[in-house]
Symmetry: C2
Subunit: 271 residues, 2 copies
């Protein structure tokens, strides 16, 4: 089953940042509840604040979101102190977002995930940056998988992120991501593959169209998780259609259920 | 460049059938012109009538459509007498739709296409029907390609149709079609690959959503032609987004041009 991580509680977005600074719990709870209601399987929380404030802010976000939803969280931080503070109050093992091939980040974050029994997102970059081609990204991913296996983390608890870059700045960016997804699916069949979708359309008009079309292509390549906006109805409708077409929706049940619930977007009214 | 064949002039549709029977040229011309204006590279004509009437009806359709558009046509008939009548009045070599592995159809239609210098659509079926699995369909396609090559038709003038069946009746139908597309792209790189899109969603609600999502997946697999409704704005918008993501739209030019022309559908208004 495809795994949806709701992206909306991100302190780098102005309104969310202000809600965190002002401890506007009602606003944060509402953002969390609406994402769960729309089908999110996890809620991402990103405090988006300076390292000295981030432990307090991330802990408050976890506590606040947990008042509103019962799905598990995804802790979006590379700061071991913030992760430690948040892990202390998390009810269910959160997904730790993220480790990379950068030694400091790997050594700072991976032990925390292991010690708390948390799944992890592993980004295909290292201290030399984000490799441009699929082969080099796969090499980084192999080193990351060796590290998670070395730490005793099961492949099924690793969410590999191929890193989706903007097609407006590099025409082959989506192709590279799709190649990485297909290669990871073949080489690490038990690992999850997760991606943020919105980068791909950076700098373009009609971004939602590009995002949802990329999602369909990525699901075909092997993606089984996305950090995205679950309130984007057309995105979710495209996901249901892609699953149906790819033989991942037995007897079209999820698709027809979504249709009956009115979730298949404006397109459904045209048929 | 992706090749769009406008499907709307099909006599098996009630209103079009009545227009053919009543020789309503204005209606047919309007259907042709609107498809060309929406970006169709060819206009399919299907008389949908009994064999004894089809030669007259198809010839009339060709003459009528040619009054309205300057793009070439696609003659949708397996009837050699109707094709002969239509070829006699066609201004530009039409695409002949279609040959199959059925000996009578192959022997009846292929020589006509060869003698008139026409490209052909080759359907992956033979006298035993439509094979259920990709390997058997590919075997039929190999025999068809041997026949077109034997007739002196260049691979670049063959449009292989993998035959897209309904996912509502066979859950793996789209997967089989995608496998055939990828295999034909690899084995016959100069051939075109064309598909009718609407079968895939037969029996489902929100059919347009399924059709356009399938189109994105099929373009990723290697499809470069579709028989479809060019007036379906969201279908064309999805096509532009898929080309962009697959590195087939240098500097995003076609995409941004479509956006400026207001062609990227309702999604464009949400960004």
């Amino acid at each position: 089953m495809f795994h949806i991580i709701g992206e909306k509680i991100n302190g780098t977005r102005g309104q969310v940042g202000r809600a965190i600074a002002g401890r506007d719990a009602a606003f944060i709870r509402s953002l969390a509840a609406s994402q769960q209601a729309a089908g999110a399987h996890r809620i991402d929380v990103n405090a988006g604040t300076r390292p000295d404030r981030e432990p307090d802010d991330l802990r408050w976000l976890v506590e606040t979101v947990q008042e509103a939803v019962d799905v598990p969280l995804c802790l979006d931080s590379a700061n071991p102190a913030a992760l430690t503070a948040a892990l202390a109050v998390a009810r269910t093992a959160p997904l730790v977002n993220s480790i990379t091939g950068e030694p400091a980040r790997l050594n700072g974050v991976l032990p925390l995930a292991r010690d708390h029994g948390c799944p992890v997102i592993a980004l295909a970059l290292d201290d030399t940056g984000i490799p441009a081609d699929a082969g080099q990204r796969l090499a980084v991913i192999r080193r990351l998988m060796a590290a998670t296996r070395g730490a005793g983390i099961d492949d099924a608890d690793v969410f590999v992120d191929p890193l989706v870059m903007a097609v407006s700045t590099a025409g082959g960016a989506a192709v590279v991501a799709l190649e990485v997804i297909a290669a990871v699916r073949a080489e690490f069949p038990r690992a999850h593959i997760s991606a943020g979708l919105s980068n791909v359309s950076f700098g373009l008009p009609a971004r939602h169209l590009v995002n949802r079309t990329f999602l369909a292509l990525a699901v075909a390549a092997g993606l089984d998780c996305a950090i995205c906006d679950p309130l984007d109805g057309e995105l979710l409708a495209t996901l249901r259609a892609a699953e149906l077409l790819l033989g991942q929706d037995r007897h079209c049940l999820a698709y027809t259920r979504a249709y009956r619930a009115g979730l298949l977007g404006p397109g459904s009214r045209r048929s």
